[in-house]
């Protein structure tokens, strides 16, 4: 059953991404995006979600499943990133005002999206771990944190590289840059807290509580920073209204965001496998993996 759902998800995701290339135009765009999202969700759902939410999840059964899923997500990430970068650099038109330098937003905007989405995902898994006491979800939260921090950092760096030619300065204290910086601090706090508590179960639960507190505080922090100062341009994509940019640009951005998603899932699964091995090193199943020399 799991395999069927997984295969179905894969086909739908590929179909969505493929359609996006051949059927241009804003009219079909939302349908294509929905397809890819649905596909990705199904792939995730197949084993990972089900395993974790319902109690039959154990590191022992999830370890090989995760191992099998990694290549799929990794290849999806590579293909989508290649497509996305091709559109961003070769097909998307040069911007009338910003010239070629604007192309960095194809990395910047998806990275900024991911930095926020991963924080929510991390808090979600942490909360599930705290509520249901399932080991796997807490490990998942721990595995997501470094990737989230990296995307936040990437968004900050690409943002300042974009800011230099556009605004004439690498850094301005505007609302969105500042809140992105604060988000990086929140990630670092989470990672530091988990690293400084030796008992992994205690570290999981403390981290979970911190992530939940952070989730409550993020809107307040964002609101206050926005109140404090804003000189950033309006957001580039308005859900509900027609996109202000050319639809090819929008497609490239969405493709890059999806590529980042796939990358995140692949990397988080790799990391969660390492965490499982480390934490369960005294269990028999880990020892048997070690003795057979299988990866």
């Amino acid at each position: 059953m799991k395999k069927i759902i997984f295969a179905l998800g894969f086909v739908i995701a590929i179909a969505g991404a493929g359609l996006m290339l051949f059927v241009h135009g804003a009219k079909y765009l939302s349908v294509n995006i929905a397809l890819v999202m649905l596909g990705a969700a199904l792939m995730r759902q197949s084993a990972y979600f089900a395993d974790t939410l319902f109690h039959n999840a154990s590191p022992q059964t999830f370890y090989p499943t995760a191992g099998k899923m990694i290549p799929w997500f990794a290849w999806l990430a590579v293909i989508m990133a290649a497509y996305g970068l091709y559109i961003s650099f070769a097909i998307a038109p040069t911007d009338f005002q910003q010239g070629e330098a604007y192309r960095i937003i194809f990395v910047h905007v998806p990275a900024a999206w991911m930095s926020m989405v991963i924080y929510l995902a991390m808090a979600f898994w942490a909360a599930v771990g705290l509520a249901l006491n399932s080991r796997l979800s807490a490990m998942m939260a721990q595995a997501l944190a470094p990737t989230g921090a990296i995307f936040t950092f990437l968004a900050l760096v690409t943002g300042s590289l974009w800011g230099k030619p556009m605004w004439g300065t690498y850094w301005v204290w505007d609302a969105r840059l500042t809140s992105e910086l604060i988000l990086l601090f929140l990630y670092l706090g989470f990672i530091a807290l988990q690293a400084s508590i030796d008992d992994p179960r205690k570290a999981d639960r403390a981290g979970a509580l911190l992530a939940i507190v952070g989730t409550v505080m993020v809107p307040i922090i964002y609101g206050s920073v926005k109140w404090w100062n804003t000189l950033h341009q309006g957001s580039s994509i308005n859900m509900g209204a027609a996109p202000k940019m050319a639809s090819t640009m929008f497609e490239a951005m969405i493709l890059m965001a999806l590529a980042f998603w796939m990358y995140t899932i692949a990397v988080a699964l790799m990391r969660v496998r390492c965490i499982m091995l480390e934490r369960e090193r005294h269990a028999n199943w880990v020892k048997s993996i070690g003795s057979e020399g299988k990866p």
């Binding site: 604060i182 601090f185 929140l186 670092l188 706090g189 530091a192 807290l193 400084s196 508590i197 030796d198 205690k202 639960r205 403390a206 509580l209 911190l210 939940i212 507190v213 952070g214 409550v216 505080m217 307040i220 922090i221 609101g223 206050s224 920073v225 109140w227 404090w228």
Partner: protein
């Protein structure tokens, strides 16, 4: 239930009274930090009064954070905290009393001392009044939010530095609205909106922070 709350409050205040030098340390920290800025920046009173709201609020933030380690650490070390967890009283209520005591001992003196520092920074009287009001509204939120961080880092390695990393980002809204209220009054605008938001943050913290702190304590001591 009320008597347990009062007992904890009285006990913490008495403890603070017996160790007066600890309280003084927080206060002197606030004074020293805010005295360093003119030394680094220069004595131009126009610049000083311009940066005063931010500097004084940052100093208050740091003073509040420095004192957090004392909130639970001693009780944790001698086992009192464990007894509180075992007691039939709701933990968040006892936590509320401890936080209130912490604010009375560490927050309120800073509020009371702020006008003097404000004079050093050449703040006009009107702005000093708003500074005091904003600190009065905002420092409770600092103690409340800080308590979560203090509880989470109990027994963690290097907890003093860790608290800074956890708590300072969460203090940002308080800093922003506090400093904005003072600078608004300096430039002749009404600080009312900022003060209202500051009060709202504190009220929200009163409701949520003790619950989160209690949960954090149960995680740290199990």
């Amino acid at each position: 239930m009320n008597s347990a709350w009062l007992t904890v409050l009285k006990r913490d205040l008495l403890q603070a009274y017996r160790r007066r030098s600890d309280v003084a340390t927080t206060l002197f920290f606030f004074v020293i930090v805010s005295s360093l800025f003119p030394l680094g920046i220069g004595s131009d009173s126009a610049i000083l009064s311009k940066i005063a709201p931010g500097v004084l609020w940052v100093a208050a933030l740091l003073a509040g954070m420095i004192s957090l380690s004392r909130l639970f650490a001693t009780d944790f070390a001698d086992g009192t905290l464990e007894q509180m967890l075992l007691s039939p009283q709701p933990l968040f209520l006892l936590v509320t009393a401890k936080i209130l005591a912490h604010w009375l001992v560490c927050g309120l003196p800073v509020v009371l001392l702020a006008p003097v520092i404000g004079l050093q920074y050449a703040l006009p009287n009107n702005a000093i009044l708003i500074l005091v009001i904003s600190l009065l509204l905002g420092t409770p939120a600092l103690s409340l939010i800080g308590a979560i961080g203090a509880a989470l880092t109990l027994g963690a390695r290097g907890s003093g530095l860790l608290v800074a990393l956890l708590v300072l980002p969460l203090y940002i809204p308080v800093l922003i609205f506090g400093a904005l209220a003072v600078s608004a009054s300096q430039s002749g605008m009404s600080p009312q909106a900022h003060l209202s938001l500051l009060g709202a943050i504190s009220l929200l913290a009163v409701v949520l922070a003790p619950l989160a702190t209690a949960a954090a304590l149960r995680i740290s001591i199990e």
